[in-house]
């Protein structure tokens, strides 16, 4: 959680995205230029930041580092129900769980499905969120309020409730969608792609409000004169978005994208509820549900942990790549 915020801050201070922030920036520069060595008598002062950080570090350590450490540890052992309840001794497997995982064709299939599905979700969510954010700036107060409320309602709905409602909307026997489209008793969850599509709709529905609200706030802080200048130069809406707004909002968009990637890669509830735990013959499994099925449904905790570690590494890699990209772009600016 700390990384994106820091990045957002750094980016913001470099790009003149926010008019309100520029004043602070000027102030801080003056402050930074002020006597540095004076503030560095060694010893106590060096510890002071750590003292302030300590509570947060303790909480993070307890809630994040320790579980991750346990996850990694368990993934190196043979650890099923029999081991947990003491029926059999726990044995060290080295990378045994990982090699079992990597030699399972289903794992690769699920991984591929997860990556493609998450990518589709991220792209759709960003497209819908950004489009509606731009729309928000163009409409009058009442429709804006209505759109905001609708979006916040979707955002506030618990994932299980949302999934159940969407499932009902597309129900073959009672759902209004089939009746409207005249599809008879067509089942949306039977085909692999139509089931994924249905889940995608729900995921986009419940995660676009975050993108919309964040981007809307970003657009609001873009100085009006810049947009006016672009309009005077005869730029079209699309051109303004591409050449003016998007570059100015880049830090925000990066944060939003990373968040979306993380969320959509980890999607669990929607798949679990809407496809009944992974779909017909497991065709709609994604990594998180797959890990759950291995770890908890089949009590193979160690194998489930190995999947968890693989997911963690993938997400870390994605985040790091984005951070690098951002920093490079920042230096160029």
């Amino acid at each position: 959680m700390t990384a994106p915020t820091r990045v957002g801050g750094a980016g913001r201070s470099r790009t003149p995205a926010a008019g309100g922030l520029s004043r602070t920036r000027g102030g801080s520069r003056k402050f930074n230029a002020a006597p540095r060595p004076y503030r560095r008598p060694r010893g106590r002062n060096q510890k002071t930041p750590w003292l302030y950080l300590a509570p947060a570090l303790v909480v993070l350590g307890g809630l994040l580092v320790y579980p991750v450490y346990q996850l990694g540890l368990i993934s190196f052992f043979e650890y099923t129900q029999a081991q947990v309840s003491g029926g059999e001794p726990t044995t060290f497997q080295g990378f045994g769980n990982y090699s079992e995982l990597f030699s399972d064709p289903q794992f690769w299939q699920v991984l591929l499905a997860t990556v493609v599905f998450a990518a589709a979700c991220v792209v759709s969510t960003l497209a819908v969120g950004c489009a509606l954010a731009v729309l928000l700036t163009r409409v009058r107060a009442v429709p804006r309020l209505a759109l905001m409320l609708a979006a916040l309602g979707a955002w506030a709905t618990p994932a299980i409730t949302g999934s159940t409602v969407w499932l009902f909307l597309f129900d073959p026997d009672f759902g209004p969608v089939n009746r409207l489209l005249g599809l008879g008793d067509h089942s949306w969850t039977y085909g692999r792609f139509s089931a994924f599509f249905l889940v995608l709709l729900e995921v986009v529905w419940c995660s676009f409000p975050f993108v919309m609200v964040t981007v809307y706030a970003g657009i609001r802080s873009v100085p009006a004169e810049v947009l006016e200048a672009a309009a005077l130069d005869g730029a079209s809406q699309w051109r303004i978005w591409r050449s003016v707004l998007a570059p100015m909002l880049r830090p925000i968009l990066v944060v939003v994208t990373i968040q979306s990637v993380i969320w959509d890669f980890k999607v669990f509830t929607q798949i679990y509820v809407m496809t009944g735990g992974g779909g017909i013959a497991g065709q709609n499994l994604v990594l998180n549900v797959y890990a759950y099925q291995k770890a908890f449904a089949s009590s193979q905790y160690s194998l489930g942990s190995a999947i968890g570690v693989v997911m963690l590494l993938i997400l870390l890699a994605v985040t790091l790549v984005y951070l690098r990209l951002l920093r490079r772009q920042g230096e160029e600016l």
Partner: protein
């Protein structure tokens, strides 16, 4: 940069101090206290009151007989039983002394180290000799006995008498007739499923495999090999999966169904026939079709034969961690006694596991007859291997059926893959 070495030191320290994940000590406690509280977990059924009444009577008698002993009964929801029992095994201190458990879980629980070996006590028990062999098999692992059978459940064919009469249909006598009758119903009444089937309804599908001479697995005493890809088994799989067609039960709707879904559909009047258990009787009676249905044993391949049914049911067992060994075993025997099972049948309709008690029950309540007939014409049980719980919960068989139904794989391919997965599970569970 100073952080990195410190972090490394910290991590090494952690790794050294805790080099294995936690394991609970579930060795049998040597204590055998004769007083104190016995904790019992039984399953919470739909409409649980009658069950509670029977249990309360048993408990009252037990407490009268054993001075200083108290019994604390808790009813746990069936859906979350797996987590509850796992938690009990993980934390012996807060675990109950006596539990009710599904008979397919026996071998798995034994491997987890949770159940107490009661071979000697069961042998000494005067009523044990009347236990029917299938029920006895369901508490036996490697020749040792880990509990007392509580009731058995078998499935048979429910059909709509009004629709059969209206269409002039005969009750099917063979499996082939079953399929043609089902299609006739659907053809005449397109809004009904002929025979409602489910892709995730393993125990409704297995009779088709068994009737065709197939087996889940062959072997004995711990070492099993899957036989689900044998020629006979494949024939059965084909027979079952061919029922998922637009002229009986459309794959798009039926592939995802489980046993409860099919019974619900039948009870709601949406199907001409269904494969349901004696335990489904109450649910069907409460549905729209009350008074308009009858039950017969599921027909086998040859006319007049009965397809072997899966002998489901529950057992009562004692946990290894109990500190009241003698008392707990006695309570187990009383909860599973002939007398209790007879009153439990009256109260809940659970089929007794004792041959003589069951015959009496069938004489009293005619609806039980087809189920008793199914039981007496031979039933099958899942392999008594600790791997079975894993095979069951990782959905190996539903996946196989669904792969065939949805056309992802042919019967040979899907059953071959399922056999491979089962063999892996059997192998790793040793």
């Amino acid at each position: 940069m100073k952080l990195a070495p410190r972090l490394a030191v910290l991590l090494t320290a952690l790794a050294v101090t805790a080099c294995a994940p936690q394991t609970s000590d579930n060795s049998s406690s040597d204590k055998d206290e004769k007083t104190g509280t016995l904790r019992v977990w039984l399953f919470q059924e739909v409409g649980n009151q009658p069950k509670e009444k029977v249990v309360d009577a048993v408990v009252a008698d037990f407490e009268k007989e054993h001075e200083g002993a108290k019994v604390d009964v808790e009813y746990i929801p069936v859906e979350t039983r797996a987590q509850r029992v796992k938690a009990a095994f993980n934390d012996p201190k807060s675990a109950p002394d006596v539990i009710e458990y599904g008979n397919t879980d026996t071998a798995g629980y034994v491997k987890d180290g949770g159940l107490l070996d009661v071979t000697k006590e069961f042998g000494d028990w005067s009523e044990a000799k009347d236990t029917d062999p299938t029920a006895a098999q369901s508490v036996t692992v490697d020749g040792k006995i880990y509990g007392a059978p509580f009731y058995v459940g078998v499935r048979a064919l429910y059909y709509r008498t009004d629709i059969f009469e209206q269409l002039g249909l005969e009750v099917p006598k063979t499996m082939a007739e079953l399929a043609t009758t089902a299609r006739k119903i659907r053809a005449a009444e397109p809004e009904l499923y002929g025979l409602v089937v489910g892709g995730a309804y393993t125990y409704g599908a297995m009779p088709f495999v068994w009737a065709n001479g197939g087996e889940l697995a062959t072997g004995k005493g711990g070492s099993y090999a899957s036989a689900i890809d044998s020629e006979a088994a494949q024939k059965g799989i084909k027979a079952y999966t061919s029922l998922f067609s637009d002229d009986n039960c459309p794959a798009a709707k039926c592939a995802g169904m489980g046993g409860n879904d099919t019974v619900t559909a039948f009870a709601a009047g949406k199907a001409g026939m269904a494969i349901g258990g004696d335990f489904s009787h109450a649910a069907v009676e409460a549905g729209k079709v009350k008074g308009k249905y009858a039950v017969v044993p599921l027909p086998g391949v040859k006319a007049g034969s009965v397809a072997p049914a899966f002998a489901g049911g529950n057992n009562i067992g004692v946990l290894k961690s109990t500190s009241h060994r003698t008392l707990a075993v006695q309570l187990m025997e009383q909860l599973a006694s002939k007398e209790t099972q007879a009153s439990m049948f009256d109260a809940m309709g659970f089929l007794p596991t004792f041959g003589d008690v069951r015959e009496k029950a069938a004489a009293e309540k005619p609806y039980v007859k087809p189920f008793v007939q199914t039981l007496s014409s031979g039933t099958k049980f899942v392999p008594a291997s600790p791997a079975w719980s894993g095979i069951d919960s990782s959905l190996v068989l539903p996946t196989m059926f669904q792969e065939v139904i949805s056309g992802k794989k042919d019967v040979a391919g899907a059953s071959g893959d399922a056999a491979k997965k089962m063999d892996e599970a059997f192998g790793s569970a040793g």
